[in-house]
């Protein structure tokens, strides 16, 4: 039987959400074709600002990757816009000439940024902020230019401006009104926002009308109506969006500001629908994500049930906004402006920078603005939605966060259909269901199962509260448990292991009442680490609880092959080692030889069964480039060769690397030794970084060059190599004992504070000596894993053997 054909024009959030909703209801009934003008799979446009601000990468904001389209057998054309629709013949054509017929056609063409028609707007360096390409061009411009101007002080303009600041540009924001975000905020909140953003480094020009963009080929500046002008190397226009309706108009659909739809998202043409920013419902065009998702749901229901009267239809949405600029909490909802027939309730604390306003009409809340503290946002949104008479409600109940009373919970009073996560359109009912049916116990699990709080994360408190309400535990008051298998925290588990003298992974699970008998990939490696930490001399490492890298002592790559990194202490090598590495690479056809960031040589693409032979032939020790342990000690060339070097950084680096090699730590540990403050070994972004100065070594800790880039902090300054070693021992052992498994030193230090660490390792001489002693004990157990494996046939057979079976023709054996 032929499946019904659904063609979707537009690969954005609204359209794809509609398909998701349809597939949820009818997984096999339809055959889908999607045309998208952008060359990407469906991504989360509202998080573009976080890509620009450096908090996410493009791949982080992809909502549905290519696999998803494939899994659901959706035919996808990216970078290919639809150019013609024939509603009579039910056909669509794309720019590249592809033709598809449809039974049902969905317009989800979204909107385009509105470009002010200024003289000079076509110049190089004048862009919008709307898609990934815009993001990329801003990032590129920041590499060669300094001065950015954003036209538009609304939500998008301010998010773009924050991103440009993060890219180290000077940022001026031009706004035509007298306060920022005038579509969402009243003037009081707008002024507070301006002050906060000025502190972050933005410069504002309010009440300014841009009249001209100056420059020859590329933009040089802009001029205003008051005859003034400013310089600019990059101009970002963020003055609004305009529904993309050209195709709909050409196709004969009824269009006002946008494509006109009824309560079932039906357009004026039969079997043709529109959702999202290109649709106009009851005279309103929505430009926010939550309403688009609500529309998608209604349309999916309509398409799946086929009859309009079975579904209730779309009644319009109450919109609310949050600004996604770090450190600033802004929320606005509904009709927030004061009018003649409205009264308002305000709290304005200029000391704390908090402003809250509820707009009330006929005893019902119709709008709100919150600045500085947005904890009451959901409570207020639900009041607006329910239209509850508030004359009898106390102020404390209107602003629960203003009091410490345990006022009735907002999520408790919400209806099951109400949305908790606006980004992903997840309702309260769906979350509660998932918690109950799948026995979820952490916010992270809920995120994984339902997508709630997966995008902007703003609803995390509500998700946590819902979890607490549903499971009856107070999870807000309680830190996250070690994993989904237990209610206990890392600290509680470690304390129990110590007190009860537990000695095996399985024993810990059964004594401490694990929910699943066998544990999971989170708790097992953690328990294995804690047991080894507590009894370094007696505990036998549980290889089954180790991630494959640490089990086979090589790094797994995306194609299932492994990489081998031989140890080169301090990054120093010699002709013999290099020759050996070259010979092995040749003998085993290693596809890629690469120098790592930690000054070692990586042999990439080795098949697992060849690993023992590769190691045997190398005859070098393991570089531990795969483990939760000391990785490398990077060094600069130091005093022997460098004209600035004040100390022998190479020798000290080698000494450190030899001493701490193979130490188990909560997470990977990277170190470096630089011989002068020029810091060629990058000591400032290492877990432990040593910097030589005239007559002394400075020790820095807690640096991180990875995702959460962080500068190391100065721990102390010491005179001798012995003191360096002692300090590292005390610091690392304290980190080993106090940090939770998988917590980098940078996160640990931020959690407990450097001062508290200094107090223990410098002020308490007894504890310092004890830490150093326990470190020596842990180090005494180290054996090179490669030597062990090369010598053990049993290990080779169990872990590395590749078994191949030839089947005789004719079947059976």
């Amino acid at each position: 039987m032929n499946k019904e054909k659904v063609v979707l024009i537009g690969n954005g959030m609204a359209g794809i959400r509609t398909l998701e909703e349809i597939i949820k209801r009818e997984p096999n009934r339809f055959q889908f074709t999607v045309f998208g003008a952008e060359p990407h799979p469906n991504y989360n446009r509202i998080l573009l600002s976080s890509v620009l601000q450096g908090d996410s990468s493009v791949s982080d904001i992809v909502l549905n990757d290519y696999d998803w389209y494939e899994r659901n057998q959706i035919e996808l054309f990216t970078g290919d816009a639809v150019v013609r629709v024939d509603c009579r013949k039910k056909e669509v054509w794309s720019a590249s000439g592809i033709k598809r017929t449809y039974d049902r056609l969905i317009f989800a063409t979204g909107s385009d940024p509105f470009m002010l028609p200024l003289p000079g707007a076509e110049k190089e360096g004048v862009i919008a902020f709307r898609n990934i390409a815009d993001c990329e061009s801003m990032i590129n411009a920041a590499k060669s230019y300094q001065k950015a101007v954003v036209i538009g002080g609304g939500l998008l303009g301010l998010e773009a401006a924050r991103g440009l600041l993060n890219l180290k540009m000077d940022v001026d924001v031009i706004h035509i009104a007298d306060h920022l975000m005038d579509r969402q905020l009243d003037s009081d909140a707008g002024k507070m926002l301006k002050a906060e953003l000025e502190q972050q480094g933005m410069q504002f020009h309010l009440n300014k009308k841009t009249v001209k963009i100056n420059g020859h080929k590329r933009v040089k500046g802009i001029s205003f109506s008051d005859q003034t002008s400013i310089k600019a190397d990059l101009v970002v226009m963020a003055v609004g969006i305009r529904p993309n309706v050209q195709l709909a108009k050409q196709s004969g659909l009824k269009v006002n500001q946008a494509i006109v739809v009824n309560d079932y998202m039906e357009t004026s043409e039969e079997d043709v629908y529109a959702v999202g920013e290109c649709a106009e419902h009851r005279g309103i065009v929505y430009g926010l994500v939550a309403p688009l998702y609500e529309q998608g749901k209604v349309l999916a229901e309509h398409i799946c049930t086929n009859t309009s009267n079975e579904v209730s239809g779309y009644k319009g949405s109450i919109v609310s906004t949050k600004l996604k600029v770090s450190g600033i909490n802004v929320f606005s909802a509904g009709a927030f402006r004061d009018q003649d027939e409205t009264k308002s309730i305000r709290i304005h604390d200029e000391f704390a920078g908090v402003y809250k306003k509820l707009v009330v009409k006929n005893n019902q809340v119709v709008g709100a603005v919150l600045f500085g503290d947005t904890n009451d946002a959901n409570r207020i949104l639900s009041l607006i939605r329910s239209g509850e008479d508030i004359s009898a409600i106390s102020k404390a109940a209107l602003f629960p966060s203003e009091t410490n009373d345990s006022s009735p919970s907002v999520v408790a009073t919400m209806a099951d259909e109400e949305t908790i996560c606006g980004c992903n359109g997840v309702s309260k009912g769906e979350i509660v269901c998932a918690i109950k049916e799948q026995g979820l116990s952490t916010v992270a699990e809920i995120r994984q199962c339902t997508n709630a709080s997966r995008s902007c994360g703003g609803c995390k408190p509500e998700v946590a509260e819902l979890l607490a309400l549903t499971t009856g535990t107070d999870i807000m008051a309680k830190p996250e448990p070690l994993c989904g298998c237990t209610e206990l925290t890392h600290e509680a588990v470690v304390a129990s292991i110590r007190e009860m003298g537990l000695s095996y992974v399985r024993e810990v699970m059964s004594v401490l009442g694990w929910k699943s008998e066998e544990g999971c990939s989170k708790c097992r490696p953690a328990l294995n680490y804690y047991l080894g930490l507590i009894s370094p001399l007696d505990y036998t490492d549980d290889a089954h609880s180790r991630f494959v890298n640490e089990r086979v002592h090589a790094n797994i790559q995306k194609d299932g092959t492994f990489s081998v990194v031989p140890r080169m202490y301090g990054g120093v090598t010699n002709p013999e080692q290099l020759r050996k590495i070259a010979d092995v690479a040749e003998k085993y056809n290693v596809p890629l030889l690469k120098v790592t960031g930690g000054q070692r040589i990586d042999l990439l693409g080795v098949e697992k069964e060849k690993l023992p032979n590769v190691w045997r032939d190398l005859g070098m020790r393991s570089g531990y480039a795969y483990g939760k342990t000391l990785r490398t000690v990077k060094t600069c060339v130091g005093e022997d060769f460098c004209r600035f070097g004040t100390q022998d950084s190479v020798s000290l680096g080698i000494e450190i690397e030899k001493k701490y090699e193979g130490l188990n730590t909560p997470h990977k540990v990277k170190m470096a030794v630089s011989a002068c403050p020029r810091n060629c070994a990058e000591s400032g972004i290492k877990d432990v970084g040593i910097v030589g100065v005239e007559g002394a070594w400075e020790i820095y800790v807690g640096g991180n060059g990875g995702v959460d880039l962080r500068s190391a902090e100065l721990l102390c300054k010491v005179a001798t190599n012995e003191e360096v070693m002692e300090t590292i021992s005390a610091f690392l052992q304290y980190y080993r004992e106090q940090a939770t498994y998988l917590e980098r030193t940078s996160h640990w230090i931020e959690r407990v504070g450097l001062e508290s660490i200094k107090k223990v390792i410098f002020d308490d001489s007894i504890e310092r000596a004890a830490l150093i002693e326990r470190m020596e004990m842990a180090l005494s157990r180290h054996k090179d894993p490669w030597t062990e494996i090369v010598e053990s046939e049993e290990k080779q057979q169990q872990l590395f053997e590749k078994k191949k079976i030839a089947v005789k023709q004719g079947g059976g054996m």
């Binding site: 008998e517 999971c520 991630f547 494959v548 890298n549 872990l799 079976i805």
Partner: protein
């Protein structure tokens, strides 16, 4: 469920080649299978390919009836082959027969 219909019966391994808690990779006519022995002695055989990005499941951490893919930590049920939690997808499971210490797969 994603069980592959039984075809030929093929000997894949002797029980003593397997260790509880460690997957074993076996190649049959170019197809990679992942073998897992449970504590009760039963054996599960799946395609050695995570439904997500094809990660080798035989290298994953095994917890009871589940294996965690070593590439991106997807949790796969060895009984049904289906991905757990919010992840969606299936890996093919094969019918297994154990005779004494000999393990056969229907492929």
């Amino acid at each position: 469920m994603a069980f592959v219909e039984a075809g030929r019966k093929v000997f894949v391994a002797n029980r003593n080649e397997l260790a509880v808690g460690l997957g074993k990779k076996v190649e049959i006519e170019g197809r990679e299978l992942a073998l897992f022995m449970q504590e009760d002695g039963s054996v599960r055989i799946l395609d050695n390919k995570c439904p997500h990005k094809g990660g080798p499941l035989s290298e994953g951490i095994v917890s009871g009836n589940y294996v965690y893919c070593p590439l991106h930590d997807w949790k796969i049920c060895m009984k049904t082959g289906s991905a757990q939690g919010g992840d969606q997808g299936n890996v093919a499971c094969f019918t297994v027969e154990v005779e004494g210490d000999d393990i056969y797969v229907f492929i």
